[in-house]
């Protein structure tokens, strides 16, 4: 049958639109010119600058981002998984409130969560720093993990748990030896999402950060704001893009292999 040419053309233009800024950014990271409007020759100097001792603060910020993301991922995986189990297992009044509690942060604009946490920390007299960033990140990651695990629980056969009980397993033994291994892929997927969201978060972190606790996005933002070393941001961004692509490709590969094993 005839395909709509118009729709395909729009799709092509949208793809150009989506990748144009990224291509220009990557090209500029190898561009001798400082402002990147014109091509002034190929260079690696912005990469060298990125790894020079002058830009040590970038790597410190990167380290902090990794630390916060790791802890936030761990906490949100624990809390999110218990939430998903409760939402799946029971269907009463309590769980419908619980569902609302999990769902609302997903539709709340980030800046609102940032300002409300800041005001609570201020009201409670808590000084802001890495701990408050960790609390904030855990709070918004819980909902994403819970939703991901809940989706996985939808094709979970509850008779498996019952079988474990019938064979004499207690609730804890059944959870850790039967339910958890089955849920693990869902938890890993939720954890990956949480890690990505935490490492990338700017707005909420911006509100609850304290002196000396800047994460990588905050560091990049202040470099942009003060127009400091723009070409170095290009090289840093290119490396980040490369890392993301490798991670996405790796997770695709793992998912495909698992699918193949399962269908066998």
């Amino acid at each position: 049958m005839k395909r709509s040419k118009f729709a395909v053309v729009v799709l092509g233009l949208v793809m150009v639109f989506l990748y144009l800024p990224i291509v220009v950014l990557v090209a500029n990271s190898f561009n001798e010119a400082k402002f990147g409007g014109e091509w002034a020759g190929f260079t690696f100097k912005w990469y060298k600058a990125l790894f020079s001792s002058q830009n040590h603060a970038i790597w410190e910020a990167f380290q902090r981002s990794i630390i916060v993301a790791t802890f936030a991922t761990f906490a949100s995986c624990v809390i999110g998984t218990t939430a998903a189990v409760a939402l799946h297992r029971w269907k009463g009044r309590l769980q419908s409130i619980h569902y609302g509690l999990i769902y609302t942060p997903l539709v709340m604009p980030e800046i609102l969560m940032g300002i409300s946490l800041l005001m609570m920390f201020t009201a409670a007299g808590i000084g802001c720093g890495l701990t408050t960033i960790w609390i904030a990140h855990t709070t918004f990651c819980v909902s994403y993990v819970a939703m991901t695990v809940l989706a996985r629980l939808q094709d979970f056969d509850d008779r498996i748990t019952e079988a474990a009980y019938d064979l004499g397993a207690g609730p804890f033994y059944a959870f850790f030896h039967v339910v958890l291994p089955i849920l693990l892929p869902g938890i890993v997927a939720g954890g990956l999402l949480a890690f990505t969201l935490s490492i990338d978060d700017f707005v909420i972190t911006f509100f609850v950060t304290g002196p000396g606790a800047d994460t990588l996005p905050l560091k990049i933002y202040s470099m942009i704001k003060h127009s400091r070393q723009m070409p170095v941001i290009n090289s840093l961004s290119t490396l980040m893009l490369l890392m993301t692509c490798l991670l996405v490709a790796a997770s695709r590969l793992v998912a495909n292999r698992r699918r193949r094993v399962r269908t066998r």
Binding site: L11, P21, G37, I79, T82, W90, I102, P109, I111
Partner: protein, 300 residues
Amino acid sequence: MTRSGRWAEWGVSLPSFVWLTVFFVVPTLIVLSIAFHAPSSDGGFASGFTMETWKAVVRTPYKEIVWRTIWISAVTTAVCILLSLPCAYSIARMNTRWRAIVAGLIMLPFWTSFIVRVFAWRTLLNPEGFLQHVLIALGLADASVSLNYNSGAILVVSVYSFLPFAIMPIYTAAEKFDFSLMEAARDLGARSFFAFRKIFLPGVKRGVVSAILMVFIPAIGSYVIPDLVGGRDSELIGNKIYQRTFPDRNLPHASALAAVMGFSVLLPLAWVAWMIKRQDAREAKRLAEATARKLSGGAA
């Protein structure tokens, strides 16, 4: 339910309940309550109830900022939907292999740093940047035209940032759509666009509704985009909340603006929930009537 069952339910629900109550519900209530206090000289808020903050928020120039935020978000949403429909349509018409590749390519930017993408646009729109050079070379603009730091730049970058979130839900709906219906319409003499509008569009309605929410809500809450590519006369609520919180240290005003933003988000959500409920009720009624007709027809 048995007694131990209820204890177990509370026990398993407790971690998320406590965490989200303490770090989500309580802070939200604090923000709402601070909006009813006057600012104090030390940058906090005074005790004692007042409506002054709300009166200030209703008056100018906040009103202008609120309206600008709403219309920029509305235009962003409209453009995203108009672009997403043909995209989702053509992806859904591809074979499975290509579908996965193209859908993956559309989502890939989402996995990269948001701040980096906005920065890329800022460089692109810069007077010394790539787009200005291209436009001048094509004779479409001269050096005096500024691409950056205005509402237009906010609009372009917002569409860029939120477009994948509009394409994906519509594509998911389009994937389940039965395209033989379109062929049938065309065989019966319908023009392509007519078939698209009357058959495809109603078929992916649910996807369109969730796409609208996925774009409109973050657009209302936007801060980074207007901050990095917007100008002085294109401030949005997000900028104002930041400004009142940090440089001005007027927490009651920041709180009141946050509440306004919250309502602007809740309103469309409530509207959609109501629509879905009404539609479900209507479908249930239609089904009941059809069944009744069939039954009575069978009896006759």
